[in-house]
């Protein structure tokens, strides 16, 4: 009896957005009298930080700092339609809608600035700090604060925009299955290293090295939290979790966190995250949806590592000590 070490690899891809498309999201953007910007949505922030990302996308597009953007979301009396937050779609779908709305608002903003500066709007650019400058003559400039005041009180303009993003629905062909499930795919490759106690069947995940290709890390710290959390969930799915431990038998289902097995902080592996960026053609600033796929490659990587360690295949999730011991026993016979 011994502690045996092994490692395994898995590589995956994952579609962004609702399968087969047909999942619209809309956004509205408007400026306040002093040049702050409101993004109005009905999208839901599940805790992943969607509001912050929409603020950064709007800020980038309009050309102001992120702290001048406020996101008002998930009120059906005010927010235009969003299909919902699921299917790794939030950033991709709502982000594109926000870009379109923000572009329209930016155009009005530049037109008002052009009138104030007596130049053509096409000759203007933003400095990202809250000012609009004449290209090639940056000494000629106006603050967005003053532009918004002018729009509201002098020129009677609404600095606002409407955005809509919809990928037309694809219908699978009945006999061949020809279809377009998605327009862009994120990718991952994970290497997991485990120790398996062949006496108790217990698996300890030592390290997980995840490489994720996500199009564009719009906010690197925030995507990191999602990728690390996903990696932990993948390990948890691989080794611990189920509401029906003897599926298809319905008995012994956990009803609280004492009975429903999940890893504690001490069970979490040393986790490494590496991000590659291949901007997607239709993603907001190239982003793809990493929300779901980041929890997928750890399961097969751990299963393959267990085989590498003790030479038994556990093809049923979760990979419990009981299943490992039964497999070792069967192998010995």
């Amino acid at each position: 009896m011994a502690i045996r070490r092994g490692r395994g690899v898995a590589a995956i891809n994952y579609p962004t957005g609702m399968n087969l498309g047909g999942d619209p999201t809309q956004a509205l953007v408007h400026s306040t009298p002093t040049g702050n910007f409101m993004v109005t949505l009905s999208s839901v922030d599940l805790g992943q930080g969607m509001k912050q990302i929409m603020a950064q996308i709007c800020a980038e597009t309009i050309g102001v700092p992120t702290d001048r953007v406020v996101v008002d979301t998930a009120d059906t009396d005010t927010g235009p339609h969003c299909m919902g937050t699921f299917a790794s779609r939030g950033t991709h779908r709502a982000g594109n809608a926000v870009i379109q709305a923000a572009r329209e608002a930016r155009q009005v903003m530049l037109e008002v600035a052009a009138e104030e500066l007596e130049v053509n709007a096409s000759d203007l650019e933003t400095d990202g700090q809250g000012n609009i400058l004449v290209k090639g003559a940056p000494q000629k400039s106006i603050s967005i604060f003053d532009v918004a005041l002018s729009a509201h009180f002098k020129r009677g303009r609404s600095i606002s925009g409407r955005g809509m993003f919809l990928i037309p629905r694809s219908y699978p062909e009945k006999e061949t299955g020809a279809m377009k499930p998605s327009t862009c795919y994120a990718h991952a490759c994970t290497v997991a290293e485990v120790e398996v106690d062949d006496e108790t069947g217990e698996v300890t995940v030592l390290t997980v090295k995840n490489v994720f290709e996500i199009g564009r890390a719009l906010n690197p710290k925030m995507v990191e939290q999602q990728l690390v959390g996903g990696s932990w969930m993948g390990i948890s799915h691989a080794l611990y979790e189920t509401t029906e431990p003897y599926y298809p038998n319905r008995d012994h289902g956990g009803t609280d966190f004492n009975q429903y097995l999940m890893p504690g902080p001490g069970d979490l592996a040393e986790t490494e995250i590496i991000v590659l960026e291949r901007p997607s053609a239709d993603g907001p600033y190239g982003a793809k949806g990493p929300g779901e796929m980041c929890a997928n490659p750890q399961m097969p990587a751990v299963a393959n590592a267990v085989f590498d360690a003790v030479g038994v295949r556990i093809d049923t999730l979760p990979i419990t000590p009981e299943r490992i011991l039964r497999a070792l026993k069967a192998q010995a016979n």
């Binding site: 919902g84 925030m222 901007p279």
Partner: protein, 455 residues
């Protein structure tokens, strides 16, 4: 986390101001100081608590329901049964024309899974609602149940859900969603090795910090404001409008700050009945799942069975892949027909295989309905595919990572569902994984590229 900018350096840019910057989240301080308001922080004077009487049986006919004792219980204001729900039989995806309507808000004549909602009790306190719920008498005639997908698909198996008439979802393509590409049998005939393996998963709980729920307040203008942690505002509003036969203009949903979803809050379960309760009593109503309900009543990730048969050459090329996927929907559809179909669009995984045959089935059994969960339709499929890839590599004596390089899809490769590959990056992910994990692979693989005609 590290960003490796050497990959795709010709197409990625660093010329933006706000995008790509690690700005702190504006909502974090509220979350960590307890100032963020979640739906359950709403508390209205006179608010009622809703508790469900649930089926103790996996499959049973309801002979009768007697709510008289419950109605007399101190603090009870209203007891609801199926007849109180205007459009009691519904299905959530009807909004995108995926029917039939197959699920009851409150059981009518039959229960199809242990835990199914039968009677809703509204009382002044949570305790009174709970105590009164225990006094509801339901007379059941227990029916044979089926839990195993293979058993459910056999002729003569008990029918789980009469609205379908058979124990699988009927797609326009038949009993399963199909993908046919090339000639899979010719591929197996030509292969040096054929390997068929079966993979199985079990239902999994989303385990969000915040359980599913809502707080509903009737407004003075005949409208209802529903504070909810749904993942999809209008999806829930529009379904509620159908179930309650109430114009959508009467409904106002407020949410968007959620303590974890993971797909578990895409179903439309708590809001319609809570709003109905508010309408019939004229009082605010809260319906919040206990942790036990969250774990055993709310939809889990479906259990799946995936059978993969591959034909592989000694040189590492996969020449044929046949996948049969089974998704255990439990008693009702919810999002499972969508999930099973998503699997059909995902197989054979990120690999270029010339001959592919895919069948994915959505199967009904007498268990808690499964539904959306992070990656569903793909997650368990990837477990199966990637363990299978490891087995195939070892079968032909090849390094598992090198074996994947040989088969990895690249730009321009035709997928089984007949879309050309665009924006591929699997090869680069594997190259970086080989580097970071110190997993040696031959130089020719490290020189490959996902680009069309890449080395």
């Amino acid at each position: 986390m590290e960003l490796r900018k050497s990959y795709f350096a010709d197409v990625r840019k660093d010329d933006l101001h706000e995008i790509g910057q690690p700005r702190p989240r504006s909502d974090s301080p509220g979350h960590v100081t307890g100032r963020t308001a979640y739906f359950a922080d709403r508390n209205f004077p006179g608010m009622l608590h809703l508790k469900m009487v649930r089926s103790p049986h996996h499959h049973a006919r309801i002979r009768s329901i007697d709510t008289s004792e419950a109605e007399k219980h101190p603090g009870v204001i209203k007891v609801l049964t199926a007849k109180d729900v205007p459009h009691n039989v519904y299905t959530i995806l009807i909004l995108i024309q995926v029917g039939p309507e197959d699920e009851t808000v409150l059981a009518d004549g039959k229960v199809r899974w242990k835990g199914e909602a039968v009677v809703a009790v509204l009382a002044e306190t949570e305790r009174a609602a709970q105590e009164a719920a225990a006094k509801v008498k339901v007379d059941y005639e227990v029916l044979p149940a089926v839990f195993d997908m293979e058993e459910a698909l056999k002729p003569g198996a008990p029918i789980v859900n009469e609205y379908h008439g058979q124990n699988y979802y009927l797609y326009d393509s038949g009993a399963c969603r199909k993908v046919r590409f090339g000639d899979v049998e010719a591929g197996f005939a030509q292969a040096d090795h054929v390997l068929e393996q079966s993979y199985q998963s079990s239902p999994i709980e989303h385990a969000p910090t915040e359980t599913t729920g809502c707080v509903v307040a009737p407004e003075g203008n005949d409208r209802f404001t529903c504070h909810t942690n749904t993942q999809a505002m209008f999806f829930t509003l529009d379904n509620t409008s159908i179930i309650l036969q109430m114009p959508g203009s009467k409904l106002h949903f407020v949410g968007g700050t959620v303590g974890g979803g993971f797909g578990g809050k895409v179903d439309v379960i708590v809001e319609p009945i809570a709003i109905l309760g508010a309408k019939l009593t004229g009082r605010p109503v809260c319906f919040i799942y206990s942790r036990e309900e969250e774990m055993q009543i709310s939809s889990p990730r479906a259990a799946e069975k995936v059978v993969i048969k591959d034909g592989v050459m000694k040189d590492g090329r996969i020449v044929a892949r046949k996948v049969t996927g089974y998704t255990d929907a439990g008693a009702y559809s919810r999002h499972s027909p969508y999930g099973a179909q998503k699997g059909a669009g995902h197989y054979p995984g990120p690999y270029t295989v010339p001959n592919v045959w895919i069948d994915t089935y959505c199967v009904y059994t007498n268990r808690t309905p499964s539904s959306a969960m992070r990656g569903f339709g793909v997650t368990i499929g990837d477990f199966a595919l990637e363990v299978q890839m490891d087995k195939l590599a070892r079968l032909i004596g090849m390094d598992p990572l090198e074996f994947r390089f040989i088969n990895a899809y690249r730009d321009g490769d035709m997928k089984a569902h007949r879309q050309p590959t665009e924006g591929a990056a699997l090869i680069e992910c594997m190259q970086e994984a080989a580097r970071v994990a110190n997993w040696p692979v031959a130089e020719k693989y490290m020189a490959m590229s996902s680009y069309k005609n890449g080395a």
